[in-house]
Amino acid sequence: MNMTISREDVEYVAALARLELTEPEIQEYTEQLNSILDYAAMLERLDTDDVVPTAHAVPIHNVLREDQVRPSINHAKALRNAPDGDEGFFRVPRISLT
């Protein structure tokens, strides 16, 4: 297998995604990600010189709405799924790690 993704890459991406991985998980994901990339590498054999880069999977553009105010939802609805809230505010735990 072509090892495009190193274990450092996996650790880095996991840290960005705030995931804590065990040693076996790091190994497993490194292998899996490489295998996925290897599979996708098949595409590199195609000649894409005349193909326009794809910005979106669906071939549509300019889906727009007019600038007209629509009703918002109320506090209670907005906060219904929030783990914590207070007086109409969402409340989040400590942000700074320092």
Binding site: H56, H61, D67, V69, R70, S72, I95
Partner: protein, 482 residues
């Protein structure tokens, strides 16, 4: 600044401008400022699973308009991207922004410092959503165990305008910002209310020894919201970097924050902690194709921009300085132009607008938009001076009365009997009285003391409470004394 002798400053700016739409960029929630917390929200701007964003057409219109005013290329094809980061000011864990294909490409504007003109390049401008507001439980974010979030502002449309690192001094930076904000205000894409955070500045600064071409290591100070903060922050940052370099050390590339109270910048995050935003195309928003016809339609809505307006006023006889003062704010320039349709002497009008009118507005902390005196009313007052109904001096007091009552000048003149006395018969009677009461002055004048006539004129003006037509008084008096 001492450092100016050793180092050259290099500065580029990112300016975030809130666009003045009625609704947010991707949903129909109102953009109104204030409002009780989390009442201008919906599943889209709260990032609820399954909610789909739809782009507000007016945001695109405003972005094109601002781009054209800033001489930018308008991209035929642009798209949105997700900028991924974990911070609760947005509930989605990403900000919808534009990465590699922004709506506006290269542009720029001209500044002038001490008569020297300089072009400041604009790299790009892109559309994105604003974030919510955090209130921390403690004094600062690092001493807070929890924070409260209000998402009313989340999703308000922003245009981020990125300049080239073309500025070499603090006055250049301030001139660029003033010009930029002035142009945006003219286009009316933003209310440009700095005190409400409608415009926010990120400042990138580095130093390098004079004569070198390579750029020094820069710092970025984020989220400044006034010109004075920008100036103070840059003064501090330039001095700090010079100290670091003079000590033989390297400036650390990092993001800093401005502490307004202490007047210093502080490390927010270093390069090692720098965000890796992992941009990728926003799958929920199809791309944007802007054809020439759309761009031309918007171009037609562009107002006369400040530079063109200044030039036009100068052709009407205003000095460069006067033209700059009048066009500083669009509202004042509009007031001036409206008055000009009723009163054509631009120079006299400018004197009144810049002088008494501005003084009255300023002392009442009133903006010209809310002026109790309309442009048409001011023009009528000046016409009364031209017709000889009012002397310039009395017109000033009439203007004050107009300001407090919003009445027309002619009505005040009628009610208070302020009209200038230009009736020869009436004036002759008064002149006779004054001459009879002051035989010594009459004798002095006839003996060749020209000054004596001034005293007599003063007495006549006093007797008429300043309402006598001064030209006519002089003429009649000389005839009498001849």
């Amino acid at each position: 600044m001492v450092v100016a002798n050793q180092f050259e400053m290099v500065c580029g700016l990112e300016v975030h401008v809130e666009l003045q739409t009625k609704t947010k960029i991707f949903c129909g929630c109102t953009t109104e400022f204030g409002g009780e917390q989390n009442t201008h929200v919906c599943p889209v701007c709260l990032g609820m699973p399954g909610a789909l964003p739809v782009l507000n057409r007016e945001v695109v219109n405003f972005a094109i308009k601002a781009g054209l005013a800033l001489d930018c290329e308008i991209a035929e094809f642009s798209k949105f991207d997700r900028k991924n980061y974990f911070y609760p000011d947005l509930s989605k864990n990403y900000q919808t922004s534009q990465f590699d294909l922004p709506i506006c490409g290269k542009g720029g504007l001209e500044i002038e410092i001490d008569g020297e003109k300089k072009w400041i390049g604009i790299t790009r401008a892109h559309m994105e959503e604003d974030a919510g507001k955090l209130v921390h439980s403690g004094e600062t974010i690092s001493t807070s165990n929890e924070s409260s979030v209000d998402y009313n502002r989340a999703g308000v449309p922003l245009l981020e305008i990125v300049s080239e690192p073309d500025m070499r001094s603090i006055p250049e930076v301030l001139a660029y910002l003033e010009k930029l904000v002035q142009i945006l205000e003219y286009t009316e894409v933003s209310d440009c209310r700095l005190e409400q955070g409608s415009v926010r500045f990120d400042v990138n600064v580095s130093l390098r020894p004079f004569g070198t071409d390579t750029l020094g290591i820069r710092t970025e100070t984020k989220n400044l919201n006034s010109f004075s903060s920008v100036r103070r922050c840059m003064e501090y940052e330039v001095a700090r970097q010079a100290r670091v370099l003079n000590a033989g050390e390297n400036v650390v590339q990092e993001t800093r924050t401005w502490d307004e109270g202490q007047g210093i910048t502080l490390t927010l995050r270093s390069k090692e902690e720098a965000h890796d935003y992992r941009y990728f195309p926003e799958p929920d928003l199809p791309p944007l194709v802007i054809d020439k016809e759309w761009v031309e339609r918007i171009r037609k809505t562009l107002p006369e921009l400040p530079a063109a307006r200044r030039a036009r006023l100068q052709t009407l006889g205003l000095s460069a300085y006067d033209a700059a003062v009048i066009t500083q704010a669009k509202a004042m320039a509009d007031f001036f132009d409206e008055a000009l349709t009723y009163y054509t002497d631009a120079k006299t009008l400018a004197n009144w607008v810049m002088g008494d009118m501005t003084r009255l507005l300023n002392s009442n902390q009133c903006s010209v938009v809310d002026s109790p005196i309309s442009a048409k009313q001011l023009a009528e007052l000046l016409q009364l001076i031209n017709k000889g109904t009012l002397s310039g001096k009395i017109a000033k007091s009439v203007l004050e009365e107009m300001y407090s009552t919003s009445k027309d000048a002619s009505m005040i003149v009628k009610e208070k009997g302020l009209a200038q006395i230009s009736d020869e018969g009436a004036l002759l009677g008064i002149i006779d009285g004054v001459l009879a009461a002051n035989p010594q002055s009459v004798e002095d004048y006839r003996a060749g003391k020209d000054k004596a006539i001034g005293f007599l004129v003063g007495q006549i003006m006093k007797a008429t409470k300043g309402q006598a037509n001064p030209g006519l008084v002089n003429q009649l008096l000389k005839e009498k004394l001849a």
